[in-house]
C-alpha cells in the first residue's frame, strides 16, 4: 500500500504543487488538504509547504496557525504524525508552538534565493533517516524571513538533544543563529526546514536530487512505524 502524504494549501501557499510533486516522485500518494477543512483524510504524514499564507502580512505563519486544519495537525503531531514544515511551513510550526523559537527577518533585510549547501546534523528524524549524519546536500533556499532565533537556553537544549537537523554550510543566507537551517521536536516526527527540498527532486529543474531524501525518509519511517 502506498503511503498517503497530505499537502496543505492555505490561501497564499505557493509551493504546494511542488511539494505534492516531490511526494509523488518519492513514491507516495500526495493528498491535497485544504486550510478550512479540519479533516486529515487519513493521511500518514503531512507537509506544510512554502509560500505566504494569508499574505504573511503580520508575521509569517501567525494567521495560518489558526486555520481549522492546523488544530487537527497540532493534535496529530503531538500523537506522532510525521509533519514537515518547509519555509512558511517551518514558520507556521513555530507559531503553533510545535517547534521552539521563531523565524525573523533576514539579517541583511533582503529576500534571498540561492542554491545552498546544508549539512545534515541529525539523521534520526522521520524526515532525514535516508541521510548519513554529516552528509552535505545542495538545496535551494529562498526566503525573506528565515533567520532562526531562540534564547540561548533553547539553542543549547536543541544542540544537546541533537535536535538541530541541518545547518547552513559555506555561508549563512539569512543570519540564523548557529547557522540553523532545520530543527525537530523531541520525538523527531516534526521537522521544520527553511530551504526547499521539494525544489531539488528533478535533474531538470533543481540544482540536485538531494531534496528527495526528505520524502523517501518519511516513507521509510512509515514502513518501520508500528501500524
Amino acid at each position: 500500500m502506498t503511503a498517503r502524504v497530505g499537502v496543505v494549501t492555505f490561501p497564499g501557499s505557493l509551493d504546494d504543487g511542488d511539494a505534492a510533486r516531490a511526494v509523488r516522485i518519492a513514491g507516495a500518494e500526495p493528498v491535497r488538504l485544504w486550510h478550512g477543512d479540519p479533516r486529515l483524510h487519513g493521511v500518514d504524514a503531512v507537509v506544510l509547504p512554502g509560500g505566504f499564507s494569508y499574505g504573511d502580512y503580520l508575521r509569517c505563519g501567525a494567521i495560518a496557525r489558526f486555520a481549522p486544519v492546523m488544530e487537527t495537525i497540532v493534535d496529530a503531531a503531538r500523537g506522532g504524525l510525521p509533519v514537515l514544515g518547509v519555509c512558511n511551513g517551518f514558520q507556521i510550526l513555530c507559531e503553533a508552538h510545535l517547534l521552539p523559537g521563531a523565524l525573523t527577518r533576514n539579517q541583511h533585510l533582503h529576500f534571498r534565493n540561492r542554491d545552498q549547501v546544508l549539512r545534515i546534523e541529525s539523521a534520526g528524524t522521520a524526515w532525514t533517516n535516508a541521510f548519513q549524519p554529516g552528509q552535505e546536500v545542495l538545496i535551494p533556499v529562498k526566503n525573506g524571513e528565515g533567520c532562526y532565533v531562540a534564547d540561548t537556553a533553547t539553542l543549547d537544549q536543541l544542540e544537546a538533544e541533537g535536535r538541530v537537523v541541518a545547518r547552513y554550510v559555506g555561508g549563512n543566507p539569512n543570519g540564523s543563529q548557529r547557522d540553523i537551517a532545520a530543527i525537530t521536536n523531541p520525538a523527531g516526527n516534526v521537522v521544520g526546514i527553511m530551504p526547499h527540498p521539494e525544489h531539488a527532486v528533478e535533474a531538470l529543474t533543481g540544482p540536485s536530487l538531494d531534496g528527495l531524501g526528505f520524502f523517501t525518509s518519511v516513507l521509510k519511517h512509515l514502513v518501520g512505524a508500528p501500524a
Partner: protein, 87 residues
C-alpha cells in the same frame, strides 16, 4: 531616560493589506466587534544625550517615513511606555 517615539502609519486613503489581513482573521479567533485594523511602524529612538524632538522629526521625515504614502507623529515618551517596562 525618556525616548523619542516615531509612529508611522499609512495615510488613511492608502490601502493597508496588513491591517486588512488581520481584520479578516479575527472572526476565526471569535472576535466579531472590530471595525478596522491599521498596521504601521513604531520606532523608538534613544539619544546619547538629551532627547531631541526636532532632530527626530528630521530623521523621520528623511528616513523613517515615506511621505508619499505615510504620515508620522513624533513624541517624547517616558520609560513606562517603552520596551523596558513591558510585561
Amino acid at each position: 531616560m525618556p525616548r523619542v517615539v516615531v509612529d508611522v502609519m499609512l495615510k488613511p486613503e492608502i490601502l493597508d493589506p496588513q491591517g486588512q489581513a488581520v481584520a479578516n482573521a479575527l472572526p476565526r479567533l471569535g472576535v466579531s466587534d472590530v471595525a478596522s485594523v491599521r498596521i504601521g511602524r513604531r520606532i523608538e529612538i534613544e539619544f546619547s544625550g538629551e532627547p531631541d524632538l526636532d532632530r527626530a522629526r528630521e530623521i523621520a521625515d528623511k528616513l523613517l517615513a515615506n511621505p508619499v504614502i505615510e504620515d508620522f507623529t513624533v513624541r517624547l515618551v517616558e520609560a513606562d511606555e517603552t520596551a523596558d517596562a513591558r510585561s
